[in-house]
């Protein structure tokens, strides 16, 4: 018996040692409590992988929190359209092609090196390296040349006229987040231990994507940031993140979905929503049958009610698209609405069938809620019509990206949204646009988009974007479903969080009680 007891105790001791030993080499994930200035936990949906500014995704629920915290911004637009300068003092042009950038003096990176135009030139030019893997490579290719005038001034020449260049910088984080030239020595190492000029520095970036940020004591704005520390964690489950807000495990949730926001408000918290122009779209591939025929596209647009989609897939929490821009835009016209007319839809289906081309197409679905929901809606709704049938092809996100990139689809869920009409519509609907994956060619729309980007005259730009909306509604290259936007849910004791027009959160002035 004594022998049994001794062996049992030994076994327990070994087990305990194993657990303790393994926990020492176990994950270093999880948050920690900050200092007396306040600490918050921010939850986002997708992992960052690398903290290199060139590789951080500039989307609300991705790398935007880290990017703005570590690197600050050259400039940004408020949701009301006001341009604010940060690390830059001014960015101006006379002809829309040649721009003068002036930096704020006396700023240093967190490693003590000076923040100069050399760093800006280096940061932008490295984006063009195809082996770096930056998603901003397309945007960066719009910059033809950068000439250093002095440490604080540079002349930028664009490849073509673009009076919305500041908006491009605001929308594309990799252009806004500047790295020191030392990042070029070992980009991989830099991505794990980055250096920026932002309000926070990296204390720890765990293998589980948990990021611990601490206040940058040398930040250029006196008295800021107000928080001592931020922990950024990742959770892709919308329900779980909503629960985390409810239980206090997270203080801020950055997302684009409204799910869970009612519960946040019920608990005394607040929600900051910034709607984008455009929205989530069902895109048609116009390079091949059946959607090379405008009747087929118009039929689907008339058949599917975005409000029904919103109710069925998102429980009515999102905003179904009626107009393509929000009512605070100069180009807003309440008569330019997307129409849902089931009788007209059936007429078009019958017309196609009479021509020997009954509509039959494949919907390429990925694993997201929106895509899966839409596949069910298409099957259910189109099943009620005659002379139309749809099949669903389900693939994972990476395969999906590859297939849409190769234009190997009939219809797929994509997106055409941004903080302003230019970022929302220029690339998705311009002939030859990088994200014009449906291959839409419309001279009038393309010209209007170019006018909107190049004209100095605000009234002419508004007219141009009205033309763009008219052409999209008439030619139906896509069905707009829900209005996307940034949704920041904040606990009751959190305030001072700002967000750009492109939905990127800024925590420089955030406080916690």
């Amino acid at each position: 018996m004594r022998g049994v007891r001794r062996r049992t105790l030994s076994l327990l001791a070994v087990t305990a040692t194993l657990v303790l030993g393994l926990s020492a080499c176990g994950s270093d994930g999880g948050g920690s409590n900050g200092g007396s200035g306040g600490h918050i936990t921010v939850v986002k949906a997708i992992p960052s992988g690398s903290l290199d500014a060139a590789l951080l995704s500039s989307i609300t629920y991705g790398g935007a929190t880290a990017g703005n915290a570590i690197y600050d911004q050259l400039l940004w637009y408020t949701p009301d359209g006001e341009l604010k300068y940060g690390l830059a003092e001014d960015l101006s042009t006379t002809d829309g092609t040649t721009w003068t950038l002036k930096l704020r003096p006396g700023i240093t990176f967190s490693d003590g090196t000076a923040f100069t135009t050399e760093a800006v030139k280096f940061s932008w030019e490295r984006l063009l390296d195809p082996t770096l893997g930056s998603q901003a490579i397309g945007a960066a290719s719009q910059i033809a040349k950068i000439e250093i005038v002095s440490d604080l001034e540079a002349t930028i020449t664009l490849a073509s006229v673009n009076r919305k260049f500041p908006a491009l910088i605001d929308a594309q984080g990799a252009l806004n987040w500047i790295v020191p030239t030392s990042a070029g020595k070992d980009p991989k190492a830099f991505g794990l231990d980055p250096v920026g000029a932002g309000p926070f520095t990296v204390k720890r970036f765990g293998t589980d994507d948990t990021l611990e940020l601490v206040k940058n004591a040398d930040y250029w704005q006196e008295g800021l940031p107000r928080l001592d520390a931020i922990t950024v964690i990742t959770s892709s489950d919308a329900a779980a993140t909503a629960d985390m807000m409810a239980t206090g495990d997270a203080d801020v949730r950055v997302d684009i979905l409204q799910e869970g926001t009612d519960e946040v408000k019920d608990a005394g918290g607040s929600v900051l929503s910034v709607p984008f122009q455009g929205g989530v779209t069902l895109n048609f591939n116009m390079a091949r049958a059946p959607f090379d025929d405008i009747r087929a596209r118009q039929a689907i647009v008339n058949a599917i009610d975005p409000e029904f989609y919103n109710e069925a897939v998102h429980n009515g929490t999102e905003k179904a698209v009626t107009t393509l821009v929000t009512d605070n835009q100069a180009s807003y016209d309440p008569d330019l609405v997307q129409v849902h007319d089931s009788d007209r839809a059936q007429e078009l289906f019958d017309e196609l069938a009479a021509d020997g081309k009954p509509l039959k197409f494949e919907f390429l679905a990925n694993t997201t809620t929106s895509s899966q929901g839409l596949s069910q809606i298409l099957t259910a709704i189109l099943g009620k019509y005659d002379n139309v049938s749809v099949s669903i092809k389900n693939v994972d996100l990476v395969t999906y990206g590859g297939m849409v990139g190769k234009r190997d689809f009939d219809a797929a869920i994509l997106a055409a949204y941004g903080g302003d009409p230019d970022t929302a519509f220029f690339e998705p609907f311009r002939e030859g646009g990088q994200t014009n994956l449906g291959g839409w060619v419309d001279d009038e729309a393309t010209q209007a988009l170019v006018t909107g980007r190049t004209t100095e005259d605000e009234a002419a730009a508004a007219d141009a974007y009205r033309t763009v909306q008219e052409r999209i509604l008439a030619e139906a290259p896509a069905l707009f479903l829900i209005r996307s936007g940034a949704v920041l849910s904040m606990a009751e004791n959190v305030s001072g969080v700002e967000v750009t027009a492109g939905g990127l959160p800024i925590f420089t002035r955030a406080t916690v009680d």
Partner: protein, 318 residues
């Protein structure tokens, strides 16, 4: 003994080699590459091709596999193109977390299973036996992806006893650590204890009817001593076999629990790696799971001799 262990290890190496190669082939056959993940859905085909070339993904598959294999033998599992971290560091860190969860979950399951099985065997058809039977029927019927959200909703969201998700390392705060692993550990234990309890109970009852046990009773040995000294050890051997298989399976099977509770273990890591086509990380995880599985089963085989001396004697005689 040494030749037995050597033969076992030789077979294990072959299994690991075949496993790694098959995994590589299957993942290579899957459409898309890590370049698509890095560049996002708006990348052009040319951009994807350029990045693939930059990452060396345009080289023949066998060349890349050989490079990986020779590196793995040296302990270098490569660097993830997605995170720029050494794969070995990422995988071993995650493995440590998963192994903690599995060990704690197994320990909890065994604690409950052994206690209830002993009582059930001692008093068959008694209240403990019948209650145990009912509860194990329920736990067997409830899969992890149902048990997990129920536990999270009741104990985290509604009662606020534990966090909804997240993990605090033991080194940071033992109290927070136990708090953060409580629900995932309970979830793992629930799904395993039914198997252990039923198996052990059945074997205990069978052993307690053996003639040598009856003989012990007639010699006046107390029932408690009979239970622990004479019946438990032979009865636990089948459970030990199942335990080995379970633990090995759980090392790779905690993906649901880890994703549900936000635990940064191997299950979560490999799920993300597969979705983003991070081939090197997937290979690393598969290799580690394979090694752990083989090691655990070898240890279990060796443990038989410790538990049942007759096994040691039989081996010596043969």
């Amino acid at each position: 003994m040494m030749s037995y262990v050597a033969a076992k290890l030789g077979r294990a190496l072959f299994v690991l080699l075949a496993l790694s190669f098959l995994t590589y082939v299957v993942l290579e056959a899957t459409p898309g590459s890590v370049a698509n993940s890095i560049l996002g859905p708006n990348a052009t085909q040319q951009q994807v091709a350029d990045l693939e070339a930059g990452l060396g993904l345009d080289r023949p598959m066998l060349v890349r596999y050989w490079e990986w294999l020779t590196g793995a033998i040296r302990g270098d599992l490569g660097v993830s193109p997605l995170t720029s971290r050494p794969v070995a560091e990422t995988v071993f860190t995650a493995a440590g977390t998963t192994i903690q969860l599995v060990l704690l979950g197994t320990a909890l399951a065994l604690l409950i299973a052994v206690a209830s099985a002993l009582l059930a065997a001692r008093f068959p058809n008694g209240i403990v036996d019948r209650l145990g039977g009912m509860l194990t029927s329920i736990t067997i019927a409830v899969p992890t992806f149902v048990a997990g959200p129920i536990l999270a909703y009741v104990f985290a969201v509604k009662l606020g006893f534990f966090p909804v998700a997240g993990f605090t390392p033991f080194s940071e705060s033992p109290g927070e650590y136990l708090n953060s692993v409580a629900l995932p550990v309970i979830c793992i234990a629930i799904t395993e204890l039914a198997t252990y309890q039923r198996l052990l109970r059945a074997d205990m009852i069978a052993v307690l009817t053996e003639p040598y046990v009856e003989a012990a009773r007639t010699r006046g040995i107390r029932e408690r001593r009979i239970l622990f000294r004479h019946a438990f050890r032979p009865a636990v051997i089948p459970t030990t076999t199942v335990l080995g298989l379970s633990v090995g399976r759980m090392i790779g099977g905690t993906v649901i629990v880890e994703n549900l509770f936000g635990i940064p273990g191997m299950g979560k890591l490999v799920a993300q790696a597969i979705l983003s086509r991070d081939l090197l990380v997937v290979q690393g995880v598969v290799l580690v799971i394979g090694v752990v599985f083989v090691l655990i089963n070898t240890l279990i085989d060796l443990a038989y001799g410790f538990i049942d001396p007759r096994v040691r004697v039989r081996e010596r005689v043969s």
